[in-house]
Symmetry: C2
Subunit: 307 residues, 2 copies
């Protein structure tokens, strides 16, 4: 039996998918050990993989998604892991001297997963936005991940939508992420609820609360959603006016607001998109947290399909 591992490395956990004869058969999660500048992370992964490979299985390759810019065999830095530049493939050689190992940025891996096994199946030019604590972007061009010159394509969370706007953790001002990530939407709610009669006035407000209350008709919650979806539409229009993709996929926790979110974004997009890209398709992601491991699996599969 042929085995491919898809490994999606995050700042708190590492998702591992074992694909046997191209089918996802086992899913598992291990904790990310960020102690010691994250120097145990790779050995933890490779030891796990070695222990979970049976004698009668043939390992075709390991695809790894990482939370930082990736170029070829290297990640150029991953703050959440405590890493600076790291040659991941060289470090893997101690455990897997011959195995094909391919890397990708995690947002790009998720986009690739959705493109071949999820919401964007059949589409070759895709932009995926992952709206969680932050806002990540993945680009699929001609059916492949587009890394960009130094692995930093799809940093669309840092498109400036408001000159002198909110300060971003990246040091810039007015980044899209500050307005349309879960964190950004909650911040908008905290601003708009001040001195207002609204159900948003509760402790530990979450982005899910905002959308739930908006769906229930709360006026201020709806104002928050209108503002966030308008800002998101401006950002997506900037991306589409540049790239003219076939399809935009909305994923991540915020996208769980579903069609309520999607419909507002699509209608506002038309206000900001150049006429010839106004027919861009939109959809919600379908693979959820598995998008990354599917994309990492595909990094290996596409190699064998093409070589």
């Amino acid at each position: 039996m042929n085995v491919i591992f898809g490994v999606d490395v995050g700042g708190t956990e590492i998702k591992i998918g074992k694909f046997i004869d191209d089918k996802l058969m086992v899913k598992d999660v291990i904790a990310t050990d960020v102690s010691n500048s994250g120097n145990n992370i790779l050995s933890d992964i490779f030891k796990y993989l070695k222990a979970h490979l049976q004698k009668d299985e043939k390992l075709l390759g390991i695809g790894i998604g990482l939370p930082g810019p990736v170029k070829g065999n290297k990640v150029l830095g991953a703050q959440n892991l405590g890493w600076k530049v790291k040659d991941v493939v060289s470090e893997a050689r101690e455990y897997f001297p011959q195995t094909l190992i391919r890397l990708s940025n995690d947002a790009n891996a998720a986009a690739l997963g959705e493109s071949y096994y999820g919401a964007a199946k059949g589409f070759k030019n895709v932009v995926m936005l992952t709206m969680g604590t932050g806002l990540g972007g993945g680009l699929i061009i001609n059916g492949h991940i587009y890394e960009g010159n130094n692995g930093s394509s799809g940093e669309v969370g840092h498109i400036c939508i408001k000159k002198n706007g909110r300060k971003c953790s990246c040091g810039l001002n007015g980044c899209l992420e500050q307005y349309v990530s879960a964190t950004g939407i909650v911040n908008t709610a905290l601003e708009l609820r001040l001195n207002k009669d609204t159900l948003l006035n509760k402790n530990d407000l979450t982005c899910k609360d905002v959308f739930d209350l908006a769906k229930k008709g709360d006026k201020i919650a709806n104002e928050v959603v209108e503002e966030a979806t308008d800002d998101l539409a401006i950002g997506i229009a900037s991306i589409c006016n540049t790239l003219n993709p076939e399809l935009v996929v909305l994923g991540g926790g915020v996208s769980k607001a579903g069609n309520f979110l999607l419909e507002k974004v699509v209608s506002k997009f038309e206000k900001y998109a150049f006429y010839s890209i106004r027919n861009t398709s939109f959809t919600l992601a379908t693979l959820g947290n598995d998008a990354g491991i599917y994309g990492c699996f595909h990094l290996i599969k596409e190699y064998f399909d093409e070589n």
Copy 2:
């Protein structure tokens, strides 16, 4: 002798380059006949090409740049020519039944020309901005033109940089083009010069005047330039945060302001670019009005190089 024609079709004139054994040997210009819904344009071109081919010359192909979205053998509309969807290659068959004919959007053709024969020689991932009456963009990805899903990649002139900003001819508001094209810069000057003691108070003010007066130290002209380059930097940062190109090329009439423009844009770009793309290279275009015919030539040349 092998001949390739590069034909750059504009709204007022058509530039034609005759490349003999890969060298540009003859340049010519014919007028664009926009009467009769532009229906004479293609026959004018093909008759000209037939008349300018000698008996001992072998025609390898014709590359054509067009002012509208191009997908494969068709232009999907070209307002300046009076065209709706037009199957250019089919229409060419009457004159050139067998010849290889390839099309491109004009901004993409200019980007391709600069990438192989001009300022971006040796670069494979390039964004070129053509700043003239309007603002066009061309994208080179992995050494090839990236058309986008329906030929509308690189419509970066219509990135919204100011919500509810100036009305654009495309119907949207706040488009980048309205602030950093020659027209946009003159409009900013007309706004800022009001009731001010400035040399900008002259009739028939041009974009060149603005830059010339700024270089001479006129205070208000410098304010105009600061504002325009800041807006341009925001737009370029949006593009680069999405695409992470190696190189940004500034071309078109506005770019004749030279290093005075370039240096301001680069320093302001750093204010708006995500840290990992801050090292993007910038340069001025070098092929001027010939970029398009070089790019159209290359459309044919790359085909023979690869097949």
